[in-house]
Subunit: 335 residues, 2 copies
């Protein structure tokens, strides 16, 4: 089978590709080729795999050509990130909304030519949730919580969820949308994302560097390890339509954790000296953004699919440490 | 002030224009001009009003020019209808999604040039609600019910609601989305819409003609008179942002009624001979579509704005009869 991963050069996309290629099969079928479409080239290990084809460039420009290709499965991860969408409104609409529609239309074209509907997993985000004044957050957001996004990124993700659902209803694709919680611990360097500290306060101290915590330790948020997210995306792909239930988006499991619990776990795993490298320095801008994020998730439908998040944050830290030990420095440094 | 009504040549749009022009003001400001943009020319009485300008053509083709015009208010009613969107997927996306985005971008352009954000009322629909297998309908759908649309029309309306919300959050417009319940009694002839019978079983018997009821009399559905819908749209326009609460869509009030209650009301108002002109003849296609529609609404936020629907279906019938008596035959015949 042939699989397309958009955003396949990125952190989650590359890990997804590695996981699938290592297993060699997807939904019981042998993987012949994985096409990684991204604005950046894939990491060297993937580029060296003869089953991998890399296509570097904007997704929007690649979609027309997809009408002439048969893919059995698509993981659509490519996306402008939250901060970009907020600072450049047109970029967000083009990268997230227009590109998704062009991709779906290429797959629709194939279906209208008689091909079986392509199975598509769309990676959405819990950024679809936000506290509208009319609808304050419930303590935990669930699959059935009313999404009232408070960012352009969240708005665009939600819109794409509904496109995926409608293209599926019409039989143009076999689509499933999965909302990802915050992935931690991300390797690499701090970036401009407001969520950057969720990785930074673990990654930097473990590497012997200082880290700044910009929000109160009682901030709560759902998180999961990179591998848990990847396993979730694969499970959503492999689920039967009946098991997925309906066409609306599901939230992938996360560990609901406070920042204080994250720091306690760091001390437990790596000792008080490492923990002491995290310094609290409130950043009003970041604290304000994070205040609009869900404090936790319930994930009944993902649980019914057999999916699980980590149950302690120590687990997540230990997995990161194991990844660092196993992975070449070049990959570790990739943001 | 200058007001743009997209879909201003249609039934609801023309009535909205008449109501505003008769009052002469909107949100306390004197109305200098009402521009009616539609694919059809407006009714003769509106065309004859020197304050009315008509623009006939596709909305998508008119939006670029709107960048050079100052409108104080916009009612965005133009839309391909449910049946069209289902049979012609591209038409629905172009007429509903692309046109709305082009309109919003024209208004955004003005805001980025320093103009005050234009106030926009977007007419959405309770078609955003549909029973996803994962989320069966509650007995009554409310403003906070999770929308899982089961038609392309409903999907596109929901997507536009979220665009309106995000453009508003960014300060590009001052937008409000209002979901309309089924409007009845519509004048004119039966059309292809699955909801056509909600008007036909009243209109045809009153005109001395037979009508077919294609669904069981125990079907329940929220309805409102045309004037109640128009008054609701104006009230949503005139509401302060604080009174509207948040940026997510609200549902305009409806009378939750069964078809049996509609028929009983017809008999009460017009007598058993008129009632006897309605003949039950089940249409599986229509019954199947209607089974996916909400059986009733609760409208807490609209009620907080002071909006009310009719409280009996007799009221709705009597208003229709009064409209027929007051309105030239040419308008009555307009679909």
């Amino acid at each position: 089978m042939r699989v397309l991963i958009t955003g396949g050069g990125g952190f989650v996309g590359a890990r997804l590709a590695r996981t699938m290629l290592a297993k060699g099969t997807l939904a019981g079928r042998r993987i012949e080729q994985v096409v990684l479409a991204d604005q950046v080239a894939p990491p060297a290990d993937l580029a060296a795999d003869r089953r991998v084809e890399s296509r570097v460039g904007k997704l929007l420009g690649q979609c027309q050509a997809l009408r002439d290709e048969a893919f059995d499965g698509v993981f659509h991860l490519a996306s402008a990130v939250s901060g970009e969408c907020e600072s450049d409104f047109d970029l967000g609409l083009a990268s997230n909304l227009d590109s998704t529609r062009a991709l779906l239309d290429a797959l629709r074209y194939r279906a209208t030519q008689g091909a079986a509907p392509t199975r598509v997993v769309f990676s959405s985000s819990i950024a679809v949730f936000g506290p509208d004044p009319a609808y304050p957050f419930p303590p935990l957001v669930g699959d059935d919580t009313l999404p009232t996004p408070q960012t352009s990124y969240g708005t665009q993700k939600l819109i794409c969820e509904h496109l995926v659902s409608d293209y599926t209803r019409k039989g143009f694709i076999d689509g499933r949308a999965a909302r990802l919680v915050t992935v931690t611990v991300r390797p690499g360097r701090p970036n401009g994302a407001a969520s950057s500290f969720f990785s930074g306060i673990i990654r930097e101290p473990l590497a012997g560097e200082e880290a700044v915590l910009p929000v109160s330790p009682d901030v709560a948020h759902p998180v999961a390890s990179p591998q848990t997210m990847v396993d979730g995306l694969i499970a959503v792909y492999e689920a039967s339509r009946e098991a997925f239930v309906g066409r609306s988006a599901i939230t992938l499991p996360g560990l609901n954790v406070t920042v204080q619990q994250m720091l306690d776990a760091l001390e437990k795993v790596a000792g008080p000296k490492v923990r002491a490298r995290v310094r609290f320095e409130r950043d009003e801008r970041i604290a304000g953004i994070v205040a609009n994020w869900p404090r936790g998730v319930t994930t009944a439908r993902a649980t019914a699919l057999g999916l699980k998040a980590e149950t302690t944050f120590e687990d997540i830290i230990r997995k990161y440490i194991a990844d660092c030990a196993a992975t070449p420095a070049a990959l570790r440094g990739m943001s």
